[in-house]
């Protein structure tokens, strides 16, 4: 069990380490227009980046030595189950497609499709019911937020 855990976590540990390096490197670009007194805009990012590098090194070392974090427990999560990458990929794809098409489709159609597709991927059994809930939610949120609260959401292809 443990042997299976720590390999993917190494990726996250390396991200922390690399991010620390990137912060330090990225901060070198900032021209230090410091006043005579005190410190300029580079000092604190350097501190954070340096600390991240140190923490990242400890993290990588910890994972390599077999340490692993406990996956968060939550009401609807089966912590013992193997990761279902297909669902994660589909949820990601649906969300990114929604983001890319939102301005074109408008909120009502975009949000309805988002809800419908997500609920099917997550295992909704009645497609018709999911579709009805999706359209109702898309319409209600639009009316509530645009007409009621004055938030601006894209109208898109619907003539509104």
């Amino acid at each position: 069990m443990i042997g299976r855990w720590w390999r993917p976590e190494l990726g996250l540990a390396v991200v922390v380490l690399v991010l620390g390096v990137l912060v330090v490197v990225g901060t070198l670009d900032v021209s230090a227009a410091a006043s005579q007194l005190g410190i300029g805009p580079r000092f604190f990012p350097m501190l954070v980046g340096g600390a991240m590098v140190v923490v990242g090194l400890f993290y990588v070392a910890d994972v390599l030595r077999g340490g692993h974090g406990d996956p968060e427990e939550s009401e609807d999560v089966d912590a013992e189950a193997p990761a279902d990458w297909r669902s994660v990929g589909l949820v990601s794809g649906i969300f990114l497609a929604f983001a890319a098409l939102l301005d074109l489709l408008g909120w009502i159609i975009g949000a309805s499709l988002l809800f419908f597709a997500l609920s099917i991927v997550l295992g909704a059994e009645h497609r018709l019911r999911a579709a009805v809930v999706a359209v109702v939610l898309g319409l209600v949120t639009y009316l509530l937020f645009v007409k009621g609260l004055g938030v601006s959401l894209p109208g898109g292809v619907l003539p509104l």
Partner: protein
């Protein structure tokens, strides 16, 4: 006596019909999101932050206070009726609470949780009224080096206490600090870490970070390992309890409050430690029937931890309001809400905006009372909410996350940033990195930087200025202790001396 006068003024402000309505909306919404899995008070307040552009501050904070307390009530309903550990603060409640529910005593478990939360919330809010002015009068003399040291203490304490592994806590903190750095430096106008993307010049909005880490991260995580069996909710009627339940509950309530409030007020204290301590204390003190029932559903094991949980929520407000120091994710989002109004919590806030602060504190008393009325008769309704099919629930959470983030700037770029942060939130859950240090780091980081630069400017670049004040020196020493405590504990444990978890600040 003046703070009593100010509190009465606060009640006058909070008791207008409009503000009562905001309080009612807040507690209802708070209970709802507390009951619902996958969504909590921190994310709810974050999604509602945009209302700060149109709603006056007093009303907004009255509503946020309602959400904050309501979330605590809702969490206990979930853990009693649905035996799966949800929010870590109500995990302990599930131990005895769910066993009570399974033995047909769900109504009594819910009642002792609700009434205990009310008793603890009211006493702890009263303690807040007493403690806040005292802390303010002490903190009025704080210099920038003291505030910097306080922020460091909050960082280290939160990272080391909230996580079972300090490296993971610090990694989470670092991720938050880096996100907080992105954007234009407030003092010199230099762009930092924007990678040349103009949309990042203003920094990444706290709403996107909170919604990404909490909502989208949770949705992706749930998608990866969804429990396919339908949730098993214990059916329940109206919450009530009999005379013997009252007799067995009132002392645990008071003991839980006494444990919860001080831990909530400490940086990194949180709700987990006092609820656990209260559970252990009640177990040790149990006599007679209680002793036989412990482990099979003893009411004391629900009453004590629930009271400790709510008291610690009120305790969290002491450092937040008096020092501007958030010690939980929700408190960090509340701090962001203050910043949206251009307000900085701290001693000055009590001076300049007494009506706002005391109105908010008064609304905590009002919200607590509303929650009691809302929760006792409406338990069956909340139990029904728990049965919402999970596909709809999480699809809905993603929809509202997208709505809240898009509405910020009307920009699709924000939705892609949201997705990246959602992936980060997913990875953090998957590998057991606590999310709270990241949120606190993101919001408190820029303030820590300002105080550090101010302190060093006053000291003309001399670093020793940071420890010249005794307060700062003590706080920094405590931070070092918070970092070293887990290491020391491990060393002691290796020798077989200290197996029990303890709080080491």
């Amino acid at each position: 006596m003046t703070s009593l006068q100010l509190l009465l003024d606060g009640f006058a402000a909070a008791l207008t019909p409009v503000n009562l309505l905001y309080a009612l909306i807040g507690v209802t919404l708070g209970t709802l999101v507390g009951v619902l899995p996958g969504i909590g008070p921190a994310m709810t307040v974050a999604l509602l932050l945009p209302i700060t552009f149109t709603v006056p501050p007093a009303s907004a904070f009255i509503m946020f206070a309602g959400i904050y307390y309501g979330g605590m009530y809702g969490g206990s309903t979930t853990s009693i009726l649905l035996n799966t550990p949800g929010e870590s603060s109500s995990m302990i409640t599930a131990l005895e609470g769910n066993k009570m529910a399974r033995r047909g005593r769900a109504a009594q478990a819910l009642a002792t949780a609700a009434i205990g939360s009310f008793v603890a919330g009211t006493i702890a809010t009263a303690l807040l009224v007493v403690a806040a002015p005292a802390v303010v009068s002490f903190a009025i003399a704080f210099g920038p080096e003291d505030y910097f040291a306080l922020a460091i203490l909050a960082f280290t304490a939160v990272s080391s206490v909230l996580s079972r592994s300090i490296v993971r806590g610090l990694a989470s903190l670092g991720l938050g600090l880096v996100i907080g750095l992105i954007g234009i430096d407030q003092q010199t106008g230099q762009a930092r870490l924007t990678m040349g993307i103009p949309q990042l010049l203003d920094g990444i909005d706290v709403v996107i970070v909170a919604v990404g880490l909490f909502a989208l991260g949770e949705a992706l995580y749930v998608a990866s390992r969804l429990r396919h069996a339908p949730p098993e909710v214990v059916p329940v009627g109206r919450a009530w309890m009999g005379r013997s339940d009252w007799r067995r509950s009132w002392l645990p309530w008071l003991r839980g409050t006494a444990l919860g409030f001080p831990f909530g007020a400490l940086p990194g204290g949180g709700a987990e430690i006092p609820t656990f301590l209260s559970y252990a204390a009640e177990k040790r003190l149990a006599r007679g029937v209680a002793r036989e029932e412990y482990g099979k559903g003893a009411i004391e094991g629900v009453a004590g931890p629930e009271a400790a949980n709510n008291a610690s929520a009120a305790g969290t407000l002491v450092p937040l309001l008096t020092l501007g120091l958030p010690t939980s994710a929700t408190a960090a989002i509340l701090l962001a809400a203050f910043q949206q109004y251009g307000l900085q919590p701290g001693p000055q806030l009590f001076d300049h905006n007494p009506a706002l602060v005391w109105g908010m504190i008064a609304s905590l008393f009002i919200g607590n009372t509303m929650l009691l009325v809302l929760n006792l008769p409406m338990a069956p309704l909340w139990a029904r909410v728990l049965r919402i099919p999970r596909p709809y629930l999480y699809a809905g959470i993603v929809l509202f996350a997208a709505l809240g983030v898009y509405a910020l700037n009307g920009s699709v770029v924000d939705l892609f940033v949201l997705y990246v942060l959602g992936l980060l939130g997913y990875a953090m859950r998957r590998f057991g990195l606590p999310v709270a240090p990241a949120v606190i780091g993101m919001i408190l980081g820029p303030m820590a930087e300002i105080q550090l630069r101010r302190a060093l400017a006053i000291g003309a670049g001399d670093v020793s200025v940071l420890v010249r004040s005794p307060i700062a020196a003590v706080l920094l020493a405590l931070s070092a202790l918070a970092l070293l405590a887990p290491v020391l504990r491990k060393l002691l444990a290796r020798r077989g001396l200290a197996p029990a978890p303890s709080n080491d600040e």
